[in-house]
């Protein structure tokens, strides 16, 4: 017994930092997700020439908190004929898998819960794919046709697009030569080139597949409200529904982080090895100062006293973060004592790495939202055709050709940016071949069908 308590103590002593980080993620993530939703609503409003949420807080800044409170105190309804236990388990599974996947991600070189695991990116991808069980079981347990149809669509969609996404990841991993997340980013630092530029087709395939895997528009068939009410979440209300919501947005953040790590250089700033571009380090603090000044300018225009105070608080937060971002950069300038500069180096890498990582993830999420408001929803057979007839052949041919290009590159001693000479033609050839296959298939199908319209629900 004593041995057991001692072992526990030893365990806690060894792992307190990851435990604290894990708690922080679980505690802060719902808030972040709430604000991602607010940004999404504001963007949608902007693209549709509206204002979006404006009532709660200045410019609706407190809307997520109001929404969360509303969802928490809503009545919890379980349908009579539902399978109670599975109904209870399903949202928990979804959110648990999404949160567990966050453990493998590295937000900057300093902040990673499961540090330096050998299987890094595989862990993130594999564990986040488990969230599908939450959707499928939830749809089944509701004992409703809409829910079941949504669940079936969701699992079909995931199975079809996971192959393409996996092949796209393989392309990036070919360049990295490792699965470890830290080493992947370091490989991009040494290469001096984001893998997304070396393999643009792979990045494109991963982008499309990641939208389909997170069930986002234009591929949000599992919850297409015009056909299926709300798909697998039809019978869920209140807190359970919000768990599904949390899982969906966490999954978005996870796929965005995987894409950022593998294709967009992770936490590296643009041009990390070009020293005459070091002034880029000053852009993040300047950006935050600009946002803070803008908030100050808007403060007198707020109607209520509370809202003015809140605006001031937001401005203050921006200035504080700007100072935190600027301090390590200023310490690294040549006028400062070199020992102090070397002491500031880990802080510089941690803080600025975190900034660039979050910036790239936000840009990726912005692109997701942009697509959602731009492209209408696909029909289910169109989705399946895109997955099986275009993306999967494209990704397989792409892996093959990128591999050949890398061998050719090593024979010709192409390094860094020169590797582009080999990989870009390979990507273009892969794209052409895949398009050719698609065209041939469509031609033969048209001959077989003899001009009859295809069954849209086949």
């Amino acid at each position: 017994m004593q041995g057991l308590t001692q072992a526990t103590l030893e365990f806690v002593k060894q792992y307190w930092a990851p435990l604290v980080c894990g708690l922080a993620i679980v505690a802060v993530l719902p808030l972040i997700v709430g604000y991602v939703v607010l940004v999404e609503r504001k963007l949608m409003a902007d693209m549709q020439a509206r204002l979006g949420p404006m009532r709660v807080g200045p410019h609706g800044l407190l809307q997520p908190i109001a929404d969360a409170v509303k969802l928490l105190i809503k009545e919890d309804i379980i349908p009579d004929d539902a399978d109670k236990l599975v109904f209870w388990l399903a949202p928990v599974l979804s959110v648990g898998a999404a949160l567990l996947a966050m453990a493998g991600l590295a937000i900057g070189p300093a902040f990673q819960i499961a540090k330096d695991i050998n299987i890094g990116i595989l862990f993130v991808v594999g564990v986040s794919a488990l969230g599908i069980f939450g959707i499928v079981l939830g749809g089944w347990a509701s004992n409703s046709h809409y829910s079941l149809m949504g669940a079936l669509r969701s699992s079909a969609q995931l199975v079809s697009y996971e192959t393409a996404a996996g092949m796209a990841l393989v392309c990036g991993l070919l360049f990295a030569g490792t699965l470890n997340i830290t080493s992947i980013v370091q490989a991009q630092h040494e290469q001096g080139m984001w893998f997304g530029l070396l393999a643009p087709v792979a990045f494109f395939v991963y982008l499309v597949a990641s939208i389909a895997e997170t069930n986002r528009a234009p591929f949000d068939l599992p919850e297409a409200e015009s056909e299926l009410v709300a798909g697998y979440m039809t019978e869920f209300s209140g807190f359970r529904w919000s768990l599904y919501f949390l899982a969906e947005y966490t999954n978005m953040i996870v796929v965005a982080s995987v894409a950022t790590t593998l294709f967009l250089g992770g936490w590296l700033r643009p041009f990390p090895r070009t020293h005459w571009l070091d002034f880029i380090d000053f852009l993040p603090p300047l950006l935050l100062v600009a946002i803070g000044v803008y908030c100050l300018m808007r403060t007198p225009k707020q109607p209520a006293r509370v809202q003015q105070l809140f605006m001031l608080a937001v401005a203050g937060l921006c200035f504080t973060v700007a100072v935190v971002l600027a301090a390590p950069v200023l310490l690294r300038t040549p006028f400062v004592n070199p020992s102090l500069a070397s002491a500031a180096k880990p802080f510089y890498e941690g803080i600025h790495g975190g900034f660039w990582f979050i910036f790239k993830v936000s840009a990726y999420l912005y692109f997701f939202m942009w697509l959602r408001f731009t492209i209408p929803r696909y029909r289910f057979d169109q989705l399946m055709r895109l997955g099986w007839h275009f993306l999967i052949p494209l990704s397989i041919i792409n892996v093959l050709l990128i591999g050949i290009a890398m061998i050719a590159g090593s024979y010709l001693h192409l390094e860094g940016g020169w590797l582009l000479l080999a990989t870009i033609p390979a990507s273009i050839i892969a794209l052409i071949v895949a398009l050719f296959i698609l065209a041939m298939e469509q031609k033969s199908e048209r001959q077989q069908a003899g001009g009859a319209t295809p069954d849209p629900y086949a």
């Binding site: 041995g3 057991l4 001692q6 072992a7 030893e10 365990f11 399978d83 599975v86 388990l89 695991i117 050998n118 299987i119 595989l122 862990f123 991808v125 594999g126 564990v127 794919a129 488990l130 599908i132 069980f133 499928v136 079981l137 089944w140 079941l148 669940a151 079936l152 699992s155 079909a156 995931l158 199975v159 996971e162 699965l179």
Partner: protein, 178 residues
């Protein structure tokens, strides 16, 4: 220090082993097929946990991606498409009772023999597989890749061709019926 690590190893091993065995039994005995599938998933995840306890992290994630994320998703998908009301009403344990008993007895004897012959393992008589020390293992996925693509390249390629043939065969048969 080694004793304490052993303790933690034992706790984790028996935890996952118990989950795996209990959920494997429940997989067979549940009447509801979806519940069976959930317990099968639990059993597979617990097995993955044991792989992790043995510091075979590559096997751990392959188990999760292939079995749980791939095969089980297809299982659940098919379960939901097929009308199972008929299946539930049918007798669950049918004709193969005697054959099954014979096989499980043989299996039990084999496991018992293994436990008996190993005698005292490092965990004070309690049989537990102890993980290799951290610094003595080569990086897991690299080691697997090396043995697959260097030592056992030919068997690996033969197996791949076999799988490819099976895949094409499945597609051809499905096309013929449509």
């Amino acid at each position: 220090m080694p004793l304490r690590i052993l303790m933690l190893d034992q706790v984790i091993f028996y935890f996952f082993a118990a989950i795996a065995v209990v959920s494997a039994i429940l997989t067979v005995t549940r009447r509801n097929v979806v519940h069976s599938a959930i317990f099968l998933i639990t059993a597979l995840l617990a097995t993955a946990g044991i792989f992790l306890q043995l510091r075979a992290e590559f096997l751990f994630i392959v188990q999760i991606i292939l079995y749980v994320g791939g095969i089980m998703v297809l299982f659940v998908f098919v379960i939901m498409l097929v009308n199972l009301d008929v299946a539930v009403r049918q007798l669950q344990f049918a004709r193969q009772k005697w054959v099954a008993m014979l096989i499980s007895l043989a299996l039990a004897a084999q496991v018992g023999l293994m436990l008996w012959s190993t005698g005292k393992m490092p965990g004070q008589g309690m049989p537990v597989l102890v993980a290799a020390p951290v610094d003595k293992l080569p990086p897991n996925s690299e080691a697997v890749a090396r043995s697959l693509f260097e030592t056992y390249l030919l068997p690996f390629e033969i197996a791949s061709v076999l799988l490819l043939v099976a895949m094409i065969g499945a597609v051809v048969m499905a096309k013929k019926r449509a």
